[in-house]
Each structure stands twice: as C-alpha cells, then as structure tokens.
Assembly symmetry: C2
Homo-oligomer: 351 residues x 2
Amino acid sequence: MPDGKTLFEKAARGIRTERTPVWVMRQAGRYLPEYRALRKTVDFLTATKTPEIAAQITLQPIDRFELDAAILFADIMTPLEGMGVPIRFAPGPIIESPIRSQKDVDGLRPLDPDEGVPFVLDALSIVRSELPKDRSLIAFAGAPFTLFCYLVQGGGSKDFMDARSFLRGDPEASDALLNLLGKSMIHYLRAQARAGADALMLFDSWVGLLDEKLYRARIQPVMKNIIQEVKAEIDRPIIYFANGGSALLEAASEIGADVIAVDWTRPLHEAVARLGSSTVLQGNLDPSALFASRDELGQEIDKVLESGMGAAAHIFNLGHGIHRTTDPDQLGFLVDRVHETSERLSSDREG
Amino acid sequence: MPDGKTLFEKAARGIRTERTPVWVMRQAGRYLPEYRALRKTVDFLTATKTPEIAAQITLQPIDRFELDAAILFADIMTPLEGMGVPIRFAPGPIIESPIRSQKDVDGLRPLDPDEGVPFVLDALSIVRSELPKDRSLIAFAGAPFTLFCYLVQGGGSKDFMDARSFLRGDPEASDALLNLLGKSMIHYLRAQARAGADALMLFDSWVGLLDEKLYRARIQPVMKNIIQEVKAEIDRPIIYFANGGSALLEAASEIGADVIAVDWTRPLHEAVARLGSSTVLQGNLDPSALFASRDELGQEIDKVLESGMGAAAHIFNLGHGIHRTTDPDQLGFLVDRVHETSERLSSDREG
C-alpha cells in the first residue's frame, strides 16, 4: 500500500482494483461456531458494550477468511440508549416506550458519543490496532428513517405501519425525530472515524417501504445533511445501503455517498445503467445462494462480478446479511471464488 | 349492466369505465368497529370456517361504503389444512411441522375443495346471493411461492431465509412442493368460481424476495400453469398481486393474468411505461396515506388516478392491505374522492 490505501479503500474511492475487494454483511455473527461459543458466555447487549469482546467478535471472520474489511460488531440500535431510549433485545430490538408524539421526541437528547457510546469507540480503537494494515475497518450507523421505524413501532415489524402512519399523521413531530436522529448519527459517525474507522456505512434497512416522492420530500434532505456534515470534518468513504430500495436507486444515489450498496433483487449492471458508470457499487449476491450447490453458487458469484464490471469500482458483498444457518465453508468458497474470478476478469479487461 | 358486467368486471377485462372502480385490500377487517365487535364473539379461525359469519364479515364494508367489489373473508392459509397441514393463528399463521424435505412434501395431499374447504364455497354462495348485482365478488388464493414461504419457514418472517435456503438447497423437493401448491390452487380457484366468485385474485405477498432470474426459472412456470389451467375451465378475470415485486414487474406480467396489482413503491405510469398501454392495473395508494390530512390524502388519491390514466383500465386500490388502526371515515373519504376525481378525469378525456 504505497499510497496508504487498502484494496477496499481504493475501490470505495472509485479506483478499479486488480481484484475485487470482498466482505459480507453480518460476517461477525451467528453462522460462525466461534461466535456461538463466545455468546454462550455473554449476552448480546453485554458483548456489544464490552470493547474487548466486541473487538474479538469483529476479528473472528478476519482470522478465518481472506476478507478485505472488518465491520465493527455492534447494532444499529446501539447508540440510541445514549439518546435516552432504553432498548432490550429478544432477540430483535424492543423499545418499551415507543416515540409517538412531539412530547416523546422532546424527551430525547442528541447523542454525545464520548458519553453515550464510549465502548464503541474503544472497540474500534482495539480492532484498528489489531487488524492487519491491508484490511480496512468499517464502522456504521443506522440511517434515520430505519431508526425512526424501530423507535416509533416499538420493535421489529414486516411493514412498520405504525411508524409510517406517524410519519404521515404528524409530520412536525416525525421530522423533528428524523432530524434529531440525523444530528446524532453525524456525531456518531465522526466519533467512530476519529476512533479508528477507515470507512463508514449507513444502513437503511427499511427505506424500501417508502415511495420515491415521500423519500425525496422527507428523508433525502436528512441523508444529504449527514453525508455533508460528516465529510466536512473527516475524510472517509461512506457507503449507503438502501435495502429493498431498488425503486429508490436514483434518489438514494443523490445523497452524496461514495458507494451505493444494493440488495440482490436487481442485477448490478442495471444499477450502472440507471446511475451511470461513475457509480461505485457494493453487493449483491442473494444470501440464499450460499445454500445452493457449489456449482450454482460459483455461477451466481461470477454473474455478480461480471454484472459489476461496468461500475467505476465494485466491492463484492451479499445483498443482505449472511444467514445464521450458513455453512462457513460456503463463505470460504465464496471468498476464493471472488478472488479467482475477479482477477481473471481484471486481466481480461487489461488484455 | 345491459352487458351483464359490473364496473369492476369491465375494468378487469380492460374496458375503460366512466369512473374508476374501487375496493381495498383487507376491506373486511379490523379497522371496522363492526368487525371488531363480531370478533369479540368468535375467533379468527372459526370466523373463516363458518359460512354465515365469513359472509357477514365480507359484506360489512359493502354495507358501509360505495365499493365496487367484495372480497371473501378468508386467509391465504385457509386451504392448506385441506392439504394436510394443521395451522393455527397467533395472530399470524403458525405451522408446527414445517415442510423441509421431500418426505414432508410426500406427506401432503392435493386439495379437494369440496372436502377440504366446503365452508369457503358455502360462504361465497351466500355472499353472491346477498351482494347487489352491480358489485362483484372476488375470491382469492395465495400464490405458491408465498404459501411455500410460510410452509417451509413455519410462520411469518421478514426475510423467510429458511424457506429461501430450502428453495436453493433442495431444488427437487422445493419444486415438488411448489407444483403441489400450484395444482391445489388451480382446484381451489376453479371451485371458488363455480361457487359464485366473479373474479379471482392470486396474492404473492413475498415474491419480492426473489430476483428476476430465480423467479423466471422456478416460480413463473408454476404461475403460468395456474392461469392457463384455471382459464381453460372457467371464464373469470384473474388479478395477480406481486407484492414488493416492482423489480419483477415484467416477469409477473407475463404469466397471463388479466390484471396486475402493484404495491405503492412505484407510480402506476411507470408500470404502464414498462408493460405497455394494454396493461390493466390495480392499485396503488400507500396505506399510510390514510393517516395523512384530508388535504394530503386527497392529493395522493388524485395522483394515483392520474398516474393510472395511461393503462388500458384501472381498478383503484391500496398498494397493500388497509391498516387496522385506520379511521374508517378516511376510507369513506377515499371512496368519494375516487368517484369524483375519476369522473372528472374521464369526462376531461372525452371532452
């Protein structure tokens, strides 16, 4: 790395690399036996709040696979306790007192990361010191609309109708909540970068529930502001994952993120056709493909790599988190296959 | 109706009508106080299995609003008990013994509607005799992939990863299950038509979890077969709702259904642009818009109607089921507004 950039960071900055960098969402998690063993001794919340344990879990997949980036073991809900919202996991997040009025919003405070999430910052600093220099460390935050969904609904849901009704029914209070979340995530992302993160990712897990008009009117300004305010202070590539948002691709690409991460429902070349060849993409193998035969899995991996060739650069990933019942050896096969195929495609391109 | 067709049926056959017919998904349900009152005296499963009660619930929204169609009160899981799968609702469907092998599939039997769901057929016949002649009666079935999701997963899920892993990991057994479900739904839909249904609808609530390639390879043939086999015996318009499937619109439109029902994430005029102006569309107001002010709601309704003007015909509906906390008066406002605006648009078009 004579220029001080890892393969992952080059790609995230739009530089085509000799092979495609690869990591997978939820790579530090339940499909790994070493993770399950560790979690027998400590619950989820304690694991996220104990820097040494969070760091150890973060590094588990890096020890096992040739991945180009580590992503901090944490939850998108982790910083919300620091805003005054008690959360428990069962195993999904439960908010006992959902936010459903201006008064509820007024009871929250903007996140002060040093006070609210010192353990996250400490974990990042441990991981960065232990992670090989040619691997990047990704920190992340939930995007405001997705955090809003959980906070208003009170927990997980397949359609978050209570949250979406609040968004429509009380625009003032819901905009106040979105803005407060936006402001807090700006502080959170900046602090994570200062603590050692090489790249930042915004997870918008539920944004696909919105139509484009509503997204542009109510959510896009908050997202643009986050990117702008973070970038004004720190120089790190930012990845935006608008899950389920193939309908919102153009609007999502306008917020100013360096990398657009996409789910598996549409091929990467379609995203390139819609967004232009200067786009940097991350994704997008269907996590269920890891349950197919090696033959089929190999073909699906190649197809994703070929489909991403038109982008300015491509970071290989799944189109969603790896499933807890996945055979880890299938991920090992995936990483090798991404290396082989992308090196071949890259030399074909040059030849 | 000199030609024996209701407004709804004309539109479903692709004939532009003087005003846009309107009904809403889950119109017979929990947002209605009369439904909640009745359900205090009878549980959900008993209500679906008692023809007089199912008929009464089906007619509740028709008595209250100027809707153009009634949809039978039932659940997409209702016919599965007749295939040998015990199901309970809590309140979502729970399958105690999920189907996860060829042996499990072999333990199922194709549905014989007269034996497995006589109560559905009786309910349809009661509703048809009580429903005014200018209103249509819609019967429905779950599409095989969606039923597959519940049967393999064992209940609801936000991503149905166990079901999708099975689809990839055991293609033979999963295709056998899809085909058996397809065959059963053919019998079910035919029997419902004979019992009095004027139109048929296939709900594919979870098909949006599939990419287009997988849909075309594994699901589309089953869907084409259903439409073909039903149409070979009975002449009723068929509506296909591929929920979350804006990425699959072209593939979904190829199965041969008369009407494509779409969710709210993309505007109707985009569906027309993608599918052509001979397409008949149903949809697609965001159910959360019913929580907005009358002013905003009115504008959103008008936008949907205007957006649907390019289709061969349009049936107004929500883009998903009406939410249980919706104020019924908002639906009353919606129905009136659809009447007013669509009559105006229709006379503008002629003028």
